[in-house]
Every structure is written in C-alpha cells, then in structure tokens.
C-alpha cells in the first residue's frame, strides 16, 4: 500500500495530469466505494467522482501534508462532495434535509446495507459490533458531527467520542486479521 503520495500531489500542483492519472488508477475505486456508500446510486456516484477529481486537480495547492496524508484529504473531498450531493438532492426532492432520525432508524433496520447490496456494494469488513457500525455509518458515510450524533441518539457526547475510537480500533484489528 503506497503511503507517501505527497510527491504526486506536488506534481499535480505543477499541472501534471499524469500524476493525477496515477492517483486515479490507485484510488478511484476506493473513493468510488466511499461515494457509493454515501449516495447509493451509480449515476450520482459517477457525477460525484468526477467532481471529486476535478476538485483534487484544482485545489491541490490547498493540500497541507502537516494536516494529514493525501488519501485522507482526497477521501474527505469525496465524502463531503457526496454528502453535499445527497443533502442538496434531498432538499430538491422533499424541501428538507433528511433527518438524522431517519438515518438512525434505517441503519438500525439494515436498510442501508440492503440498498448498498442493490447497488452492488458489499462490505469486506463490517463485522463490527452494531453500535460501532452505526457510529462509522453516521460519522463516515453520513457526515454527521459527534455533537449531532449525541443530540439525536441520546448517547452522551463523551460516549460518542470514546465509542468512535473503539469502533476504529475494532476496524483496525479486523483489517489486520483479514490481511
């Protein structure tokens, strides 16, 4: 797994399209997987993926290695673009943003997984404890802040924080086990 992609970002800052193509080859699938889990629609996902790479191309100059590795930066662009897309689509369709209650309800009933299965998306590693899976779903794929999660689930903020850490630790262990 390539860890240091920073030189590629620097090349993109100089307008090197080949560097962008290298990043695309390495990460378009990973980013597309994240995007699909957020938008749950193949057409929308393609639009978001395109927007994501255009943003990577245009804002490579804003990348700061002190803040995180390139993949985290790209992943957050993809995630935020996808989440914005879902929210603006929700506003267009219903005049209101999908409420967190809906999301929690749906997550609890495994509706999300069913929809992802419909889109051909299967999780390689998601045998997490239900409360951990829910947190990763809400934080990572739905883009809710820890305060929002605490407010809407009734779980104390401190517990949300420690549980997020526990969820990622469990994920880390599972990834190692699957290696």
């Amino acid at each position: 797994m390539p860890v240091n992609d920073t030189p590629l970002i620097e090349a993109i800052q100089q307008g090197d399209q080949k560097a962008l193509a290298t990043l695309y080859d390495a990460y378009s699938g990973a980013l597309n997987g994240v995007i699909l889990r957020v938008v749950r629609n193949n057409d929308l996902a393609q639009e978001v993926l395109q927007d994501t790479f255009v943003k990577i191309w245009r804002s490579a100059g804003a990348y700061d290695p002190a803040k995180g590795r390139p993949f985290t930066w790209m992943m957050n662009i993809a995630r935020n673009t996808a989440i914005d897309m879902v929210r603006s689509a929700a506003v267009r369709h219903s005049g209101s943003v999908r409420s967190l209650d809906d999301v929690v309800y749906r997550t609890g009933h495994d509706d999300v997984r069913e929809q992802m299965d419909d889109a051909g998306v299967k999780d390689v590693v998601m045998d997490l404890k239900p409360e951990h899976r829910e947190l990763i779903e809400l934080a990572y794929y739905q883009g809710f802040s820890q305060q929002e999660i605490a407010d809407n689930t009734g779980i104390p903020l401190g517990t949300v924080k420690s549980r997020t850490r526990a969820a990622l630790l469990e994920l880390r262990t599972q990834l190692k086990d699957h290696r």
Binding site: Q17, N32, K55, N76, S96, V97, G120, A139, L175
Partner: protein, 276 residues
C-alpha cells in the same frame, strides 16, 4: 492534555473523520507536529480508514477516467481562454467541522447551493453579455454599411433626377453631334438652353482617352470656335455633364486636346460635330 490522554480521548479519530471544530483541528495539528506518539497514532488511524476504503473499493465504470480527464482538459482550455476561475478553497484538508444542528447544515447546504447557482448564473449571464456585445457590433456594422449604401443610392438618384430634368426640359435643344473623319460612327449629344445659356453634354459613345489627352467642347459662334469646357475623364464622363455657359452658337464640335485644354481647337483632331 498529554499525548496519552489525547490519544484516548477519541479526538484524533474525530479529526480524521472531519468531525472537529477549527480550534480542535489546530490542537490536533500542533500535537502531531510536536509529539511523535500523536503523529504515529494519527497515521495509524488514517491508515486504517485508507485500507478500509481500499478493501471496499468499487471500480468506477471504465468510461469514467476518460470523461474526467476530458472535463479537466476542457476546464484548462477555458481557464486559458476566458474567465478567471474562482479558486476552490477547502477550509481544512481534513474537512471542516460540520455545522452543528440540522439548521446549520441546511443553511450551509443552501448557501453552497446558492453560491453554485449564482456562479453558474454569472457565467451564463457573462456569456450572454458577450454574445449581445458581438451581436450589437455586427448590427452597428450592418447599419453603417446600409447608411453608406443609402448615401450612394441617394446621390445616384439625385444625379439621375437632375439629368432627367435637363433632358425633359422643353426649353432645351437637343443637338446630336456625329463622328467626322476617323471617328465616323461616334455620337455625342448637347442639351442647350439658349435663354439660360446652360449647356449639358452626354458623351454617349466617345471612347476613353489615354493619359495626357482630354475632349474639349467648342461652340462655333459666327465661324469662330469658343471654348465651352473640358469633358471629365473616367467615371465622371458617364451621364450628363454641365459645361460652360453658351449664349449663342450655330454649331458645337468636340476635339481631342492635351489634358486641361487648348486656347484654339486642333481641327485635325475633331471627333464629332453637329449643327444647331
């Protein structure tokens, strides 16, 4: 908060997930720079999410790559050709803390949507303005061409009207001048109003003369030739032409003279002649 407390707090995970406030992000970044333990833990968290994403990768459609690079190519050309691009700014590469509460999210989403819509609207308006300017310039040019045409047509019309008035004038005598000598077959016509002394000539078939030569009209008064003016050369020679006033004459004749005319006619160079 020391490194161990920071690591245990869950703030690092929240930071990587883009869930922290700008203040918290600064705290995490400062700790990352100063504390190797924090840096290592952050790297582990980032690595976990990266590997998680790679394991769950879904390859995009094969056409996606080409379409993205076409888009970027088009974007680059656009940048070179015209409007300045508003730089995309990411508040923090980790993603800024999302607004708290659904109202905040709604406001943020609405303001981003409004910005996008207004940006698109501006681009469209700018393009329309450019099109309108081009169209206006084209119409202005058309108008100038038409005005010029009109002036030419008006001058031509006025000239025709003036000539028609001369020809139709009942006071006018029309005198046909016929070719003589080498110029047999050539014709010209004089329109003369003896009372007003006005003389017009229609050169009719007279051929264009080489440089240095010019037709000169003479009025024969009691056997003596009187200069009645030079006939214009070139385009001006077409149609009726006002000559010098002649009060009385028994005949008119045209000779070929040096350009600018002579005091007395060169009789051997007489082209046409006609009796009144």
């Amino acid at each position: 908060m020391n490194a161990a407390e920071l690591i245990a707090s869950g703030l690092l995970e929240a930071y990587v997930l883009g869930q922290v406030s700008p203040e918290e992000a600064r705290l995490v970044q400062a700790s990352r720079a100063s504390d190797p333990l924090v840096a290592a833990e952050l790297d582990a968290i980032e690595g976990t999410l990266q590997e998680f994403a790679l394991r769950n990768a879904v390859p995009p459609p094969a056409t996606s790559k080409a379409s993205i690079f076409e888009h970027i190519e088009a974007l680059n050309n656009k940048v070179q050709n015209s409007s300045p691009i508003i730089p995309f700014t990411q508040a923090s590469p980790m993603g800024s803390a999302r607004a708290t509460g659904s109202t905040g999210i709604w406001l943020a989403a609405a303001s981003i949507a409004a910005l996008v819509v207004s940006g698109a609207f501006n681009i469209i308006q700018y393009q329309r303005l450019e099109e309108a300017r081009t169209e206006l310039a084209r119409l202005e040019n058309d108008r100038a061409v038409l005005a010029e045409d009109l002036n030419v047509q008006r001058a031509s019309y006025e000239q025709s009207q003036g000539q028609l008035a001369v020809v139709m004038d009942p006071q006018r005598k029309a005198i046909l001048l016929n070719g003589v000598g080498n110029a047999v077959g050539e014709k010209a016509r004089i329109y003369w109003d003896p009372k007003a002394s006005a003389v017009h000539i229609d050169p009719m078939t007279l051929a264009e003369l080489p440089a240095g030569q010019q037709y000169q009209l003479w009025a024969l008064v009691d056997g003596k030739p009187i200069d009645a003016g030079m006939i214009e050369k070139g385009v001006a020679s077409r149609g009726l032409q006002r000559m010098k006033d002649v009060g009385q004459a028994q005949a008119f004749a045209i000779t070929i003279e040096k350009e600018g005319g002579s005091l007395t006619p060169t009789l051997e160079a007489m082209v046409v002649m006609g009796q009144v």
